[in-house]
């Protein structure tokens, strides 16, 4: 079942994001692998699976974050919106994928920041540089990481039909 592949992939990516991703950081900014995973599932899988994957990815984001809840809501909401948007505008070309990762990264960053303020969890000293830097870096790295994901889920990179779990 592909759900098992999804869970295993998600756990591996979460662990990488928690402790290993700083190794490729540039001036304190590192890509967000969970964000890239979110975009991959939202763009290349059908809506129902994309919704489930988005929320679970958000939960994984919260498990290594300061509080539980903001990631679930932000990732779930934006992943769902992107999956619905993908119904009308196929995000296939790399520049569009980079833009999608960047925009969703910024929006999730803002939403997570606001929801964390609500929970009074932490104060970010350099919020905007970090969110924009992280989103840009993720956008540049994202399309590269889609290739191993395609291989894992046996999807063709240019296949129009979306995959299913």
């Amino acid at each position: 079942m592909r759900w098992i592949k999804f869970i295993v992939l998600l756990v591996v990516v979460t662990l990488l994001q928690a402790e290993f991703i700083n190794l490729i950081g540039i001036k304190g900014t590192a890509p967000d692998l969970l964000l890239i995973l979110l975009i991959f599932f939202a763009v290349h899988f059908d809506i129902t699976d994309a919704i489930v994957a988005s929320f679970i990815t958000g939960f994984a984001f919260d498990l290594i974050g300061p509080s539980v809840g903001p990631g679930v809501i932000s990732f779930g909401l934006l992943g769902t919106l992107l999956a619905r948007l993908n119904k009308f505008i196929a995000i296939r070309k790399i520049p569009y994928q980079i833009a999608a990762v960047f925009i969703v990264g910024v929006l999730t960053g803002i939403l997570i920041y606001l929801l964390n303020l609500f929970k009074a969890q932490y104060i970010t000293l350099r919020f905007f540089p970090l969110v924009f830097g992280r989103s840009l870096y993720s956008g540049l790295v994202g399309p590269l990481l889609f290739l191993p994901f395609f291989w894992l889920f046996r999807l063709g990179p240019h296949r129009f039909a979306r995959g299913r779990f």
């Binding site: 700083n22 809506i47 489930v52 929320f55 498990l63 809840g69 809501i73 769902t80």
Partner: protein, 260 residues
């Protein structure tokens, strides 16, 4: 065998359920949700520990320093407020010092600003002492008038003998006549042995006399409140003097330090 009926849930329903779950997690207190995070950290402690060791040894910048917890933020904010208050106090002291420096007799003098810790009859204790450059005999200012001199000293504090103190004596000048001012206690002082030939009236200013090494010029000390014929010696005046400021309400003073 009966085929299992596949339950199909619409995307909207799924979205609604998950959003509800998200908001429930958001509103649950952190004490409870943090257990999920701790469980994850416990289950995957080995790979996380390896990653942490690799991160520590790698020459990368730690961007986690850009984030602080609420407690840390509160501490920093409190510290900032304290520093701002210290800064405001310092500005006030600078203004006070600037005011003193405008007075001609104090040109070229340094000042040690001090807070009054204790007030008793004829004496003040201040929070500056030997370590701050205070010495015995130095004059003390308050509201641009002399109120006394340093009579006792310790490393961190000093005792000021007010000129109104029962045992205080100070050389003064009134109506161009040099005289000795004696404190009588009860916030008053008297001047005796000024000849009756001198014209002195109520309201005349009394000045502390110049004293080389301690005071470069005469400075206001008090006002004459009464001038009557001395009962013991009818050829002299009995002059009563009061300070220009309320010595019982003094909260901060300046010790004059003449530069050598």
């Amino acid at each position: 065998m009966m085929a299992r009926k596949k339950v199909k849930v619409s995307g909207r329903m799924l979205f609604t359920w998950f959003m509800l779950a998200g908001f429930i997690l958001l509103f649950i207190p952190d004490k409870i949700t943090s257990r999920l995070q701790l469980s994850f950290a416990y289950i995957f402690r080995f790979p996380l520990r390896i990653g942490y060791s690799i991160s520590l040894s790698a020459p990368t910048q730690d961007f986690k320093r850009d984030f602080v917890s609420r407690n840390e933020y509160s501490k920093l904010h409190t510290h900032l407020m304290n520093v701002v208050e210290d800064c405001n106090e310092a500005y006030q002291k600078i203004e006070q010092l600037a005011g003193y420096r405008k007075l001609k007799p104090l040109e070229g003098a340094d000042f040690v600003l001090a807070n009054v810790c204790d007030v008793s009859d004829g004496k003040l204790v201040i929070d500056r002492g030997q370590n701050d450059g205070v010495s015995l005999g130095q004059f003390v200012l308050c509201y641009n008038s002399i109120i006394g001199t340093v009579s006792q000293l310790s490393p961190g504090t000093a005792e000021i003998e007010l000129f109104t103190g029962p045992s205080a004596k100070m050389q003064v000048q009134v109506a161009d006549e040099q005289a000795i001012l004696n404190g009588t206690g009860d916030d008053r002082a008297e001047i005796r042995f000024i000849p009756k030939t001198k014209t002195i009236k109520t309201g005349d200013s009394v000045f502390a006399s110049k004293k080389p090494g301690f005071l470069n010029g005469t400075m206001l000390l008090g006002k004459v409140t009464s001038c009557t014929i001395d009962d013991d010696n009818p050829f002299f005046w009995d002059i009563k003097v009061e300070p220009v400021c309320n010595l019982k309400r003094v909260t901060d003073v300046a010790v004059i330090v003449i530069k050598k």
